[in-house]
Structure formats: C-alpha cells, structure tokens
C-alpha cells in the first residue's frame, strides 16, 4: 500500500528469495520458480519434434472462415486457456505482482522493456503505462491476448513452441537449449513448456483466473487488426445433453443440502471433520467421500446423486452420472458449476419434483439455498470451470422484489431516466414473469433524452451529482436494468421523464406519479406489488414538490396513478416497472407531446428536484439511510468527538444521553459497548438493544432477525451502509473481550465512531474489518420505522 509498506514487502521478498537461493545451493531440494524475462519474439523455426495443440483450439489458418477465432466454447480452450495457465504460473493471476529481482511485473510478468514492445506492436493504449503492473487488468489481458493471437498464428498453434517462446525464445531456434537450465532458473525450457501443456489439458486453480480483455479500451479495434473477432469468443455457459433425464433443456429436480446449515444468520458446517472443535455437532457426513463417491467434499463445489428408490440405494436418480460430472445448478436466479463427489439414498419428492440431488452445503451456500427446494440442472462440457466455493454464483435473472432492507439516501445523488430505448425487445423477468423489455418510441425517446440532458445540466450546475440510465438516446436498457441501477447506486432519487399523447401544458396529459404501497403489476397467477413504506412516503413527498415546480412553469400538472391495464403488450397494473423494482424513491413524469417545450419541462423537473432533495455536501460516496440507519449516524455524530481525540473526557451530549437513555452506566462511559448501546437506545432506533457488552450485542444482532440483517464476511467499504454496527466477539459470547463500533460513512478523514474501554470516550475513527480478535460481524438495522412503531 504505502511506499514504506511496499518497500518492506519487497525487502521481505528479496530476503526470502536469497534464502531460497542459498538453501537450494546447499540442499538442492528447493525449486526456484523461473525468473521470467521475455525477449524479442524470434522468427518461427524448428524447435522440437513434438507438436502440442490445445484441445478445443483447431488450427488457425488464414483461410479459416473470416479469420475469426473459434466460437462458443472455444474461449475456454485455445488462447484463453493458455493465458489462464500463463497468468497462473507467472503471478497467480495477480495483476499488481512484481518480481523484486527481475523487475518483471503484472499478471503475465512482463519486464518493462518487453511490455513497451508488446503494447507498441499489439495494443498501443497500454503503452501509456511504463510497467505492466500499472496498467488496469483488462489492458494487461488485452496486450497478452493480442500478443498470443500472433504467436498462435506464428507457431501454427504449437503450444510447446509458444510456451518456449515465452520462457526462452532462442530455445526455439537452438534445440540444445531446450534441456539446459537457464541461469537463474531451476527448470529447463522443455519442462516449463510441458508444464504449460499439462495444465492447459487439466483443471486447477488456473481455470478460475478471469480474463477481461474484452473490457479493455479499443480492444475491438486492435483485435480486428489482429484478425480476431472477440465478440464471437464468449464465455456463456454451454448446455449439453447428458442423458434422457438431463436433456439440453435441463431438468427441474428436488434438492436437499447436507454437511452444513444456515442457522442464526450464518452458514456453518455441521460435521465433526470440518469443525473438530465442536464434537457435539451431528455427524451428517464425514467430508471425505465414500462408496462410489470419488473425492472429499469439504472445500468443493460438489453434489451427491441420490437414488431412484431410497431403499434400493441405486444412486441413479440423475441417470447414473460419472464421477466428477459437472452440472450447472440454478436456484432463484443464481447458477453454479458443481461436480459429483458423492452419492446418497434420497427420499420423498420435494414440491412435486423427484428428489434427485443433494447439494454439499458449500454449494447450497453459493446458491443461497437454505432449505430443500427445487433446482434446475443442466449438463455442461467437462472443461467448464467449477465455481470456487469462495466465489460467487452467477446471477442469471433479476432479483425479485423481496428486499426489506432499504437505504434511502438524503444527499443529492440523482438518477435521471429518459424514457425508452433504441430497440423493441420482448423480455420477461424470470422471477416475476413481468414484462421488462423496453420499446423504442423514437419521437418520445429523442424528446425526453434531450430534456433529461437539460435537467442534468441544471442540476449539475447547482452542485448535484447526476447520472442517467442511458448514455445515448439510442441505447437499449431494459426496465429491470434501470431499476437495478438506482438500487446499486443507492441514489437519493430516480426520475423518469416521458411524454405522451395530448397537448403540452394540458392537465390531461401532464402528471407526476410516485410509488405507492400496494400498487402492483401482474401476470396471470403472479402478482407483484410495491411494499416499501418509507420509500413510498419519500417518493410521494418529492412527487408533490415536482408537480408544484412543474405547475409553476405554466404546465398544469397532477399527481396521479398510472394505469397499464388493457395494454396487451404489457403486464397489467398501476405502477411502472422501474418504480416497482426500485428500492429508492422514484418519480415518474409525463407531459403532452404536441407543442412539446423541452426547456420548460426540464426547468420544472429540475426545480422540483432541487426543492425536494438537499444538495450534496462534499464528496460522500455513502448515503444516509432512511429510518434507523440514518438516525444511528445522526446520533453517533451528536455523541462522539469529531476530531479523533483519544481521552477520557466525554462530550456533554454523551454524558446526558447515557444518564437519560442508558442509566446506571455512567461509570463505564469509556466503553465501546456502552457507546453503541447508548446510540441505539438514545436514537430510539431499538429500545430493546442490550445496554452494554459485546458479549450481549453480537448474539442479540444474530437473534433479532426481524430487526437486523447480519453479514459475517464483509471486507470492503463498498459493502457498507452508514449506521452499520461492527462487532467482534469470537462468535460465541464466551471469547475474549471484543469490540464494537459504528461505520458512519465518510466524515472528513474518518468513517467510524467508537469508544474504547478505559482508553477513550466516543470519537471518530477508522473502519477496518478484522483484527487480532478475528473478523467483524456487521449488523444492519432494517428500516426501522417498524421499531419506532412499536415504541
């Protein structure tokens, strides 16, 4: 991180290197990893008798179609596979890695001069970076990809020669060098190349290394120059038919989970092999595999094939899959790639579907499947990378409207949503079945986009942060994506700008629509309604302000509902899709198209926004949350010193708050638990919050699921919301004295508020995620008017 830290690390690395070098001299038992120093690419020439072509990557020829790389699954073979292995061998895939001895750096460990040459020849945008490690990962990937497009062609797909060219290029010309260990290395070019070949033909950690070259600036342009069409080299999953049960279209089957469970707000192993400290856990599985099972389970994204007949123990419910057979398993819009590592008996059907698969708990955790349910399974090719247990399932559909934890920011970050897209598409949300595809409506689209740009200009000049759901009027962004943007960005307000039939200024064609609890959209048999009370209230307040401001421009505006019923192409109901799926306040505007006055429309909307939403103060990437979270921050601000001082003098406000709201603890005010409790009690966010003690606070957060979401493994500020409670206490309440404090968002150079026992009174501080006591549990108050209502 800091220069000092880097130096320390480099120093340590050098020491380790020297130690390893000396050890190897005396013991000859320690292998030194190859020090990679690329040289200029040699001319093609005979190097070795054998030829190795990676499976799945047919010979590249000038006459191969239009010069494109193979399509579909070829991205998992060919150059991608080679680059994954290369990145793994050189840097374990870490784009900032540097070799302190050779100076080689980045994901592919280019020395600076080679990086300059490779980028100049293949990918000039990368030349602006002196060292590979300084370039964003996608640019490193782009430079390497385009370099190896050339090399694959140059060496006629001979991976052996390509690998040698990477390790010691002149060994491709002088065969005698193939079996000699170059100075400073421990292996020969042949051994290096053979290892690359072996790895490209097998799976391992390298298969999980992601390549981002398609995201690099101007990549398409330079790929085209290199004769590559990257758009045809996609990473989409390829589904295959495995048998009559698992056809190409997949199969829905009943699924159970084992080896672990979701309890008290977190996932935990439930077998004694995985948790030797706890012998009282049930012996559900030994985690080692047995019977037909081909391997251990712990730490693997695995499943067990159950039996057609539980009594017969035939283990053929999925058609008797081979060991390690990979499946794409989809649950609630998430998909993982898991492999068969076990078998089981089975049991009664689940929700009418045959119970056919038992998910190892780490697989279920990835899918967030907390209890038995129905999953969809597909066969996938054997070379499809497994989802790592520490990774994430792929979101394959939109999230349903179930989130109850809402953060409605009050600072001025605005998302403008000009209506319609550059194409007509029929899309459905998988979870709800609702129509989320957008339509083109060119006249309206062009009008409203210009208006949105004007609104943005006005707001930006006034000091607001403004984003738009489209960059160009012709962009296609479906309705769910638009809502998701607002949710991900946690904006203070989203505003849709539309126009409709009728005259500009007529009240029959001019209205503002807020979110309303109970408003809905539906398809036959599936009803989805808006439930977020706090958001609706804020949306209605802002809608009124915008209506007033628009009316002040001469436009006769009403606040009224929408009605989509009777329009065959849309889901029925009375709330727009973007508002329905939004977790932040969203206001929808319509105006007449005849005599359209974009300036007037823009001014009215902008004036309304400025009256309703406070201008953003400074740069605070976090938002104040509605209800409890915001109240927590406000109270913490009121009770803590703001300068980070460390001392035993409290603010008067804190003394008063303890005395009145957390009585009996005046003698223990310099204590983290007392401070957190006092904020929670004094703010009235949670009148039942424990009065003190991390021993009490952590179990309380875990137990009170109606009041708190808990997160055991957060590790960056991007995952936090101001008002989050950090607590570490060894998880049991029986460990050593823990610590607790608030994340409060950016407050100058601080972002936390904490007190410390006998050390200092509440003051601003710095957030971090683990210390000598372990990792912090984060508790997040759920909206909170529900608590207030109970007072």
């Amino acid at each position: 991180m800091s220069i000092q830290t880097i130096r320390k690390k480099v120093g340590r690395a050098r020491n380790i290197f020297v130690a390893v070098l000396l050890s190897s001299v005396f013991t000859s038992q320690i292998t030194i990893l190859p020090i990679f120093a690329q040289e200029a690419v040699p001319d093609n020439g005979p190097a070795d008798d054998r030829t190795s072509v990676i499976d799945g990557f047919p010979a590249y020829e000038e006459g191969c179609g239009n010069g494109e790389l193979p399509t579909g699954n070829a991205s998992l073979g060919g150059i991608d596979k080679f680059l994954q292995v290369l990145a793994y061998k050189e840097s374990s895939g870490v784009p900032t890695k540097i070799n302190p001895v050779s100076g080689a750096s980045g994901k592919y460990q280019y020395i600076d001069s080679t990086w300059a040459g490779v980028t100049k020849s293949n990918y000039p945008p990368g030349s602006k970076y002196k060292a590979a490690r300084q370039a964003p990962e996608e640019m490193q990937d782009a430079a390497a990809y385009l370099e190896y497009v050339k090399k694959f062609k140059q060496f006629d797909n001979d991976v052996f020669k390509i690998a040698v060219s990477h390790f010691l290029p002149k060994a491709n010309e002088d065969k005698s060098l193939l079996d000699k260990v170059p100075q400073g290395n421990a292996i020969t070019p042949r051994q290096y190349a053979q290892d690359i070949i072996n790895k490209t033909k097998s799976e391992g950690p390298w298969t999980n290394i992601k390549l981002h070259y398609k995201d690099a600036p101007q990549f398409a342009e330079y790929a085209k120059k290199a004769g590559v069409n990257p758009d045809q080299n996609n990473n989409n999953l390829q589904y295959v038919k495995l048998n009559d049960i698992i056809k190409e279209t997949g199969a829905d089957v009943g699924a159970t989970l084992y080896g672990g469970r979701y309890k008290d707000g977190q996932w935990q192993a439930t077998n004694d092999n995985q948790d030797p400290e706890n012998k009282n856990l049930p012996h559900e599985d030994n985690g080692q595999g047995y019977g037909q099972a081909p391997g251990p389970l712990a730490g693997h994204t695995a499943y067990a094939e159950l039996s057609v007949n539980p009594d017969s123990q035939d283990f053929k419910a999925l058609g008797d899959l081979k060991p390690f057979q990979k499946l794409a398993i989809t649950y609630n819009g998430k998909t993982v790639i898991a492999e068969k590592r076990d078998v089981g008996g089975g049991g009664d059907p689940i929700k009418g579907k045959k119970r056919a698969i038992d998910l190892w708990w780490e697989t279920a955790r990835l899918l967030d499947m907390k209890d038995s349910d129905v999953v969809t399974i597909h066969g996938v090719p054997d070379n499809t990378p497994l989802t790592p247990v520490g990774g994430q399932a792929t979101d394959t559909t939109s999230a349903p409207d179930t989130c109850q934890s809402v953060c409605a920011p009050s600072s001025g970050q605005i998302l403008l949503d000009p209506g319609h897209s550059g194409a007509d598409r029929d899309e459905r949300d998988k979870a709800t079945g609702l129509t989320i595809g957008d339509s083109s409506n060119p006249a309206e689209r062009i009008q409203t986009f210009k208006t949105a740009e004007k609104v943005k200009e006005i707001l930006t000049k006034a000091g607001y942060s403004v984003a738009m759901t489209k960059k160009k009027e012709s962009d296609y962004v479906n309705l769910m994506q638009r809502a998701q943007m607002a949710n991900d960005m946690k904006v203070a307000l989203a505003v849709s700008i539309h126009s409709t039939g009728g005259n500009f200024g007529d009240s029959s064609a001019a209205w503002v629509t807020p979110q309303v609890v109970g408003h809905y959209r539906e398809n036959p048999g599936k009803h989805t309604e808006f439930k977020l009370k706090d958001v609706a209230k804020e949306s209605q307040r802002i809608a009124q302000k915008i209506a007033e401001a628009r009316s002040a421009t001469g436009d006769k505006v009403q606040v009224r509902d929408l009605n989509f019923t009777g329009r065959a192409e849309l889901s029925q109901g009375n709330l727009s899709i973007v508002q329905l799926f939004s977790k932040v306040p969203w206001v929808y505007n319509e105006v007449g198209q005849s005599g359209y006055d974009g300036d007037k429309y823009a001014k009215g909307i902008a004036d309304g926004i400025m009256k309703a939403v406070d201008k953003k103060e400074g740069n605070n990437a976090d938002q104040q949350c509605s209800g409890g979270q915001g109240d927590i921050v406000a109270k913490a601000e009121a009770l803590a010193w703001h300068d980070g001082r460390k001392g035993l003098t409290p603010r008067q406000e804190y003394t008063k708050a303890v005395k009145e709201d957390n009585p009996g603890l005046q003698s223990q005010m310099a204590d983290c638990g007392v401070f957190v409790a006092t904020v929670m009690l004094s703010s009235k966010v949670d009148p039942k919050f424990p009065k003190a003690g991390t021993f009490n606070i952590e179990p309380y957060l875990l137990k009170e699921k109606d009041k708190y979401d808990t997160f055991p493994n957060l590790n960056s500020t991007s995952q936090l919301q101001p008002g989050d409670i950090f607590v570490v206490n060894q998880g049991t309440g029986a460990g050593v004295a823990g610590h607790t404090y608030f994340y409060i968002g950016k407050h100058g150079r601080f972002n936390a508020a904490a007190a410390s026992m006998n050390s200092y009174m509440p003051t601003y501080n710095v957030t971090y995620f683990s210390d000598s006591r372990g990792h912090y549990l984060v508790g997040r108050n759920k909206g909170t008017n529900q608590q207030k209502d109970k007072i």
Partner: protein, 224 residues
C-alpha cells in the same frame, strides 16, 4: 607561616584535583544520557493475568522492559494452559517505546467462560484490545493515507473508490487494498486518474476492480 610560594603550590594542587573531579563527573554524566541508559522500552500486557510471557525464549513478567542493542527483532510469546498461545514478532528501534498486548483466547471448555468469571482479566483484556485497536487505526491511517479520502464517488457517479482488507494474518495496515467500482474501462481509467491526481502512485497501491452495475455501461443488453 606559609609563604606565598607554598600557598601557590597548594592552590595549584587543589585546583588540579578539582578540575579532575569535575572532569570525571562531566565525563560520566555525558555518557549517561537517557538514550544510553536504555536503548528502547517494551511494554507487555497479557490477559489472563499471570500468563507466561517470553522474549526470545526467555521468561519475563508483564510490564515495561528495557531493551538494549537496538535495532533488534524480538519474538514475544504469551501462553497459558487452556488458551491458544499467541506470538508477535517486532523490530524495535533505538529510542522507541513499544507496546505489545496479548488477550489470550480460550481453546478449552475449561476456560470457555474465563473472562465472564474473572472480571479483572476481562477488564485487562478489554484494555489490551482497545490499545491494539487504537494502534491499528493509527497504523492504517499512516501507512495508507489515501484511505482518508475514501469512499470517494467520482463526478457524475461514474466510479466509486473504496478500500478493503484481506482476510489473512498480519497487521491490518499491511492488508489493505483499494477497490475501484466502475462500469466501463473509461470509468476505471477515470478512477485511476483520480487516485493519481491526489498524489498517489498506482505502483504503490494494491488495486482491485469490481463491477459497478450502473447506467454507465448500458450496452450490455438483456439480463435474460
């Protein structure tokens, strides 16, 4: 009668002796500045009270210890039956006053409720952990000055810069990284440019990139 010559001789002798005494005193005190009395000091605290502490294998008591021959690297351990032992290796510089605290954690059912049942040890452990927390925050801030400006939201919500912490052993200050969330390569670059504009070298930072599902990459097509 003592003549003037004898008086001068006596005065000379007395003067010489005085000069020698003053010189000796000055020489002695000059070599005994505080820095030379003690090179450095190390304060050690441990909970539960009475746990065994060793510095480089030699048993010592809790409290403050004088450290000579600095700079030097010390391996400090704390152990007690029923608790997981802990070790800290520190390099202490001349003139430094360092603090090392150990709040041992139970690893046996026999001691699982130790801190609940031993109020004094609980208070000592709390203080130790407070000191560690305070020191960590100072270390994090001084080693990673960019963190003071984070989270940062780029103009027009184009990107967001956060920080994160690896879950691995070691001081938190050495486990921090910068996390850039941006939807497009251009916005990623804008984030990098912003970091550089604040006077930080990208080469000195561990930077990770995360997707930022926002309006800035609208050409990604359907979620279906």
């Amino acid at each position: 009668m003592i003549n003037q010559r004898q008086l001068l001789i006596v005065a000379a002798i007395v003067g010489t002796v005085l000069v020698m005494i003053i010189g000796a005193v000055l020489a002695f005190t000059t070599n005994r500045t505080p820095e030379n009395i003690t090179d450095a000091q190390l304060q050690i605290e441990v909970a539960p009270k009475g746990s065994e502490i060793k510095i480089n294998g030699k048993s010592v008591d809790a409290g403050t210890h004088d450290i000579q021959n600095t700079p030097t690297t010390l391996r400090v351990t704390a152990s007690r039956k029923g608790f997981a032992p802990q070790v800290q290796t520190i390099t202490i510089q001349r003139g430094e006053n360092r603090y090392v605290g150990f709040a041992l954690v139970s690893n046996s059912p026999d001691t699982a409720k130790w801190y609940e049942e031993h109020e004094i040890d609980n208070q000592i452990a709390s203080q130790i952990n407070s000191n560690i927390y305070s020191q960590n925050t100072v270390d994090i801030a001084s080693a990673n000055p960019l963190l003071e400006q984070l989270p940062y939201l780029g103009e027009g919500l184009r990107f967001r810069v956060d920080y994160g912490q690896h879950q691995r052993p070691g001081p938190p200050a050495e486990n921090m990284y910068i996390l850039i969330s941006a939807g497009t390569p251009e916005d990623r670059q804008a984030a990098l440019d912003w970091i550089q504009s604040q006077g930080f070298s990208l080469a000195d930072l561990e930077i990770q990139f995360a997707d930022f599902s926002n309006p800035l990459n609208p050409t990604t097509g359907s979620t279906e």
